[in-house]
């Protein structure tokens, strides 16, 4: 793996860590279980801070996601000799699970951002459905990431 792909993976890892942390902080659990009492983690119990952080991390994830997708598509348009080996490969099964759950998280997240705007009313059942689906997709993504990490399954088989 080149330094470029290592760097991209590091950025993705950092975004995934902080977006997950700020996402779970939307539930009132960090104060209950003393985690926000740990010096330096008090912000985890401040809902408006974690809410803003979740939005910022979501924006960075969208930048990275669209960049990686566009890069992969355009990379295949280059002459074969210029193409990166990774761009020539195919998504593995865990890669597909991660890509699809990420896409689902982006869609449900963006819909919930619209829901949070002033003057926007969504049917109550739709809001509950979105909340649960977003959480379920997050758990699927984390599960697939953990599995891929333990079994050393890459995103792309080259």
């Amino acid at each position: 793996m080149t330094d470029y792909f290592r760097g991209r993976r590091l950025v993705y890892g950092l975004i995934l860590f902080f977006i997950t942390l700020s996402g779970f902080a939307q539930m009132p659990v960090f104060a209950r279980y003393y985690i926000s009492d740990i010096p330096g983690l008090g912000w985890l119990a401040q809902f408006y801070v974690t809410h803003a952080m979740h939005y910022i991390m979501a924006a960075l994830l969208l930048v990275l996601g669209s960049y990686a997708a566009m890069d992969a598509v355009l990379g295949r348009k280059l002459p074969s000799a210029w193409q990166n080996r990774v761009n020539k490969g195919r998504l593995t099964a865990t890669g597909w699970v991660k890509v699809l759950s990420l896409a689902g998280l982006m869609v449900t997240g963006c819909v919930m951002v619209v829901k949070n705007l002033s003057g926007v009313y969504f049917p109550h059942l739709l809001i509950i459905f979105l909340d649960l689906l977003h959480l379920a997709l997050c758990m699927i993504l984390l599960g697939a990431t953990l599995y891929a990490g333990i079994r050393k399954r890459p995103w792309i088989a080259v």
Binding site: R32, Y34, Y48, A59, L74, L78, S118, P123, L126, I128
Partner: protein, 316 residues
């Protein structure tokens, strides 16, 4: 006092709003002048005599919604999780509780050089963009197109986030009741949060909220928000008074008009006794950041396109 809307208009607008809420019309912007313009209430505190008729009417009308907790309460872990039990203090009316969604706040101020006492009916402000609803992690709180926000006691787990994000700390918790008892009562949840729901069920039937109907002094008026704002400004001009709720937390569906500036009022505040200070729009940061989410994918795609273009140029 003359209402800003006729009874016929009021019924028409509330029935429309209730109907829309029931059938779930999907995302709908409720802007001024549209059929779905939310309803707001005006509380003219210069008229309030503090008789508490509104408080008793609220308690009577909503008694069936009050919690009936199961005792003893399950032990909750860790030990810092507070048990909040108001079930043996149901007659408390000098603050907000799960059994008292409206109370009379006493305030003093100076008007024309004389000290006066004002009595202020206090309850949920029903924000235009309510953080209690929008930030509830389970969707247990809901906002209806009629402008009211309420908490579904069947779904609420009592985590109290709604109270933490409410600028006025309005929702109040009762332990030992609700969905959390059926999940992991020892480790997650702590009851149900309760607050004024602006008598949504009465509105659906075309009736006025109980506190408004019971008031002998017509302290409160309900109508379309634009009309209520116009009335509030008219009243404020008449009494050389001041309005609270126009911009607080981005605007609320409960507006107060007072003969004394709100920042010059002295009143008892604390747990269950909300303040009347200026409040910035707590949801504004999220709304501003939403723009970043629109720009983000375009920026990412543009960066990849730039890289592709440079590669082609280098190799050419």
């Amino acid at each position: 006092m003359r209402s800003p809307v006729s009874r016929r208009q009021f019924l028409k607008s509330t029935v429309f709003a209730a109907g829309a809420a029931v059938v779930g019309t999907g995302p709908a912007a409720a802007g001024p002048g549209t059929e779905e313009e939310p309803l707001a209430t005006l509380i003219d505190i210069s008229r309030c005599i503090g008789c508490e008729e509104c408080v008793y009417a609220c308690n009577d009308a909503n008694a069936r919604k009050f919690p009936e907790p199961e005792k003893p309460f399950p032990t909750m872990y860790p030990s810092r999780v507070p048990v909040e039990d108001w079930s043996d203090q149901r007659d408390v009316t000098d603050r907000l509780t799960p059994y008292n969604w409206l109370y009379i706040q006493y305030a003093t101020g100076t008007k024309d050089g004389e000290e006066i006492t004002l009595t202020i009916p206090r309850r949920c402000m029903h924000c235009q963009n309510p953080p209690c609803v929008k930030l509830c992690p389970w969707g247990a709180a809901k906002q209806q197109p009629s402008g009211l926000s309420r908490i579904d006691s069947q779904l609420c787990l009592g985590g109290s986030k709604c109270k933490d994000v409410c600028p006025w700390d309005i929702p109040q918790r009762q332990t030992g009741v609700g969905l959390y008892l059926d999940i992991l009562p020892a480790f997650a949840g702590n009851g149900v949060m309760y607050k004024c729901d602006r008598c949504y069920d009465r509105l659906e039937k075309g009736e006025q909220p109980a506190c408004i109907e019971a008031c002998p002094e017509q302290v409160q008026v309900i109508g379309r928000r634009s009309e209520i704002i116009a009335l509030a400004k008219e009243r404020a001009q008449e009494m050389n008074g001041h309005i609270y709720g126009l911009d607080e937390n981005g605007g609320t569906h409960t507006l107060y008009v007072s003969p004394v500036p709100f920042d010059q009022l002295t009143y008892d505040t604390g747990k269950g006794k909300p303040h009347l200070k200026p409040v910035k729009d707590t949801m504004a940061d999220g709304s501003n950041l939403a723009l970043a989410l629109v720009i983000a994918p375009v920026a990412g795609a543009a960066a990849a396109l730039g890289k592709f273009y440079n590669r082609i140029k280098e190799e050419a």
